[in-house]
Amino acid sequence: MSAAGRASAGWWWLILPAFLLLVVFYIAPIVQVLAISVTEPEPGLGNYERLFTSGAVQRVILTTLRICVITTALALLLGYAIAYAITLATPQAQGWWILAVLVPLWISVLVRAFAWVTLLRRQGLVNNTLMEAGLITEPLPLVWNEFGIVVGMVHYMVPFAVLPMLASMKEIDPRLLAAARGLGASRGAVFRRVFLPLSLPGVIAAGVLVFIFSLGFYITPAILGGGKTLMVAEWIGLQILDLIRWGLGTMMATMLVVAILVTPAIFSRIVDLRRIFGTGA
């Protein structure tokens, strides 16, 4: 090794503490979880077999996927509208819009979940208002079901959908939109043929982000689902904390990790992830 090579190798010692911290507190526990999933209650792939044999396991996975897909779709739809409005707003208005998008992020997820419960429960604001207005005679089942979970999750996810989409919309050269109109496109055609396709990388980025985030959601589904609709994270908690079935719980946790790794891998084949997450030019 040359002197210069030795000198540069020396610098690597400086990141050793960070590396050890990551191994001890992050990688080791994950490896342990993986290990438990193939050793408890007995060594082998018995836990993973349950993916194909157990109706309960399959139901939890399907429920989670369904809620995540619906949440992602709704968050993207709402987020797109908000990001579009922000892009078109004046610079001063943009500041206020972005503040309005970010403020909910600073409020505890627990507080927001309980706030939705008070709004959506049988004697909540929404049902009371509708009943007093005479629109319904019986309270609607708005919470402690999938509907409630989706409402709470969409509310949480919209800012995460807005920010990547806003970033990609701001990159669009406004002259392109003027050019499209000058070439004979109506406002609708300009949006459909120029703005929408150019903002698509941001939409996909936001979609991946929101979907992955939704997969492991715990508090919001636990509170707004009322224990009746189980998503994966709550189910894992239930297996490990209440039923002491470590093998089954860690198997599902492993599947969650795999899903989180696989989703971006799939999308990276469709679009350039580096462009989406902003590294590189």
Binding site: A178, G182, L183, G184, R193, L198
Partner: protein, 367 residues
């Protein structure tokens, strides 16, 4: 591309105000069918605002825009059927060259077969047929510029608007594309309106130039008219280079007058159609540097002055001299280098001369 002839455009008292600022001030201008008109002016002269108003992106505060006599002022841009080449081209980055060119046809609802034929014809017109399936970012600046031209012409627009179409290119390529643009104009026979701050581009491309300053139309006319007979000092200064000689009118005769400037008597011939100034009045004349000759012993000219060379620059094709003339100040002269009668040197005393027809009286620009 079939030649349907151009359309005529007229601006009538066009005015655009932004708060207290008047960007365009009562501009009236006629653009004839098939004409190549250039709006020329420094930045902030209102030329781009006028183009944007013609395109429909800027609503005028006052005045009207007429296409073949029909008022189109309230029409939105997509209803005007004007082709436009934007500054920086504004090609759609997510579409191939062919898709870019097909865009105006697609939004007009043409069938695929019609579209393909017209796109091919337009790309052939700008010699880019081979590049149909490339993305804009894979093309050079000059090629992108030609795609923008093809896209603006493919739907046979009423008018082609060009916003500084060549400003992003380097000098050599710019000269090349100037010629192409001129040839293209001749081939398609449509009305072109070009905006630029580059006076050489304006002179070489245009049938007619409209010179703007501070939002006002200063002078419009054929390039030679504007260059040879600038109406105001601004026009003479902006279009090419000029010496300005200021003095008092001492004598007026048929077809000319005598000017006393800094103790020097200068004879000025009046071009036809320009009124002679009255005796005793102040007058400014513009004198192009290339019309000033360096005189050797025995050479004669209508006007001669003597001075010392204060500085000179060798430009390859010629020498640019700055000569200090007592009383007159600095007089600039350009000489063709290959037949310069002397080797210029600083401090050298030289005799300069020019014909009576070389100098043109100009008005001072009012603000």
């Amino acid at each position: 591309m079939s030649d349907l002839g151009g359309h005529a455009l007229a601006l009538s008292g066009l005015t655009k105000r932004y708060g207290d600022f008047t960007a365009v001030d009562r501009v009236s201008l006629d653009v004839a069918r098939g004409e190549f008109l250039t709006l020329l002016g420094p930045s902030g002269s209102g030329k781009t605002t006028i183009l944007m108003a013609v395109a429909g992106f800027v609503a005028p505060s006052e005045g009207a825009i007429l296409l073949d006599g029909r008022d189109i002022t309230p029409l939105p841009p997509e209803r005007r059927d004007f082709g436009m080449v934007f500054q920086g081209y504004a090609l759609f980055p997510h579409m191939t060259v062919a898709e870019n060119v097909a865009f105006p046809l697609r939004v007009r609802g043409l069938s695929r077969a019609d579209r393909d034929a017209k796109v091919r014809a337009a790309l052939d017109l700008v010699q880019l047929g081979f590049f149909a399936d490339r993305l804009p970012k894979q093309l050079s600046g000059g090629q992108q510029q030609r795609v923008a031209l093809a896209r603006a012409l493919v739907f046979e627009p009423n008018l082609l608007l060009l916003d500084e179409p060549l400003s992003a290119l380097d000098k050599k390529l710019r000269a090349e594309l100037q010629e192409e643009l001129k040839a293209l104009h001749r081939r398609v026979g449509r009305t072109f309106i070009n905006v630029t701050h580059d006076q050489e581009e304006a002179l070489s491309l245009s049938d007619r130039i409209a010179i703007l300053n501070h939002g006002k139309l200063v002078q419009a006319g054929a390039p030679t008219d504007l260059y040879e007979r600038p109406r105001t000092r601004f026009v003479a200064d902006f279009l090419g280079k000029s010496n300005f000689l200021e003095g008092t009118v001492r004598a007026v005769v048929a077809g000319g007058f005598g000017l006393e400037a800094g103790g020097t008597q200068i004879v000025v011939a009046l071009p036809p159609g320009i009124d002679a100034p009255s005796v005793g009045a102040r007058s400014v004349v513009s004198l192009r540097p290339e019309k000033v000759a360096l005189l050797l012993d025995g050479d004669v000219a209508d006007n001669t002055v003597e001075g010392r060379i204060a500085g000179f620059a060798y430009l390859g094709a010629g020498f640019a001299l700055r000569v200090d003339v007592p009383g007159l100040g600095e007089v600039r002269a350009t000489l063709p280098a290959w037949k310069a009668p002397i080797a210029p040197a600083e401090g050298l005393t030289v005799r300069l001369g020019w014909a009576a027809e070389a100098a043109v009286p100009v008005e001072e620009d009012g603000r």
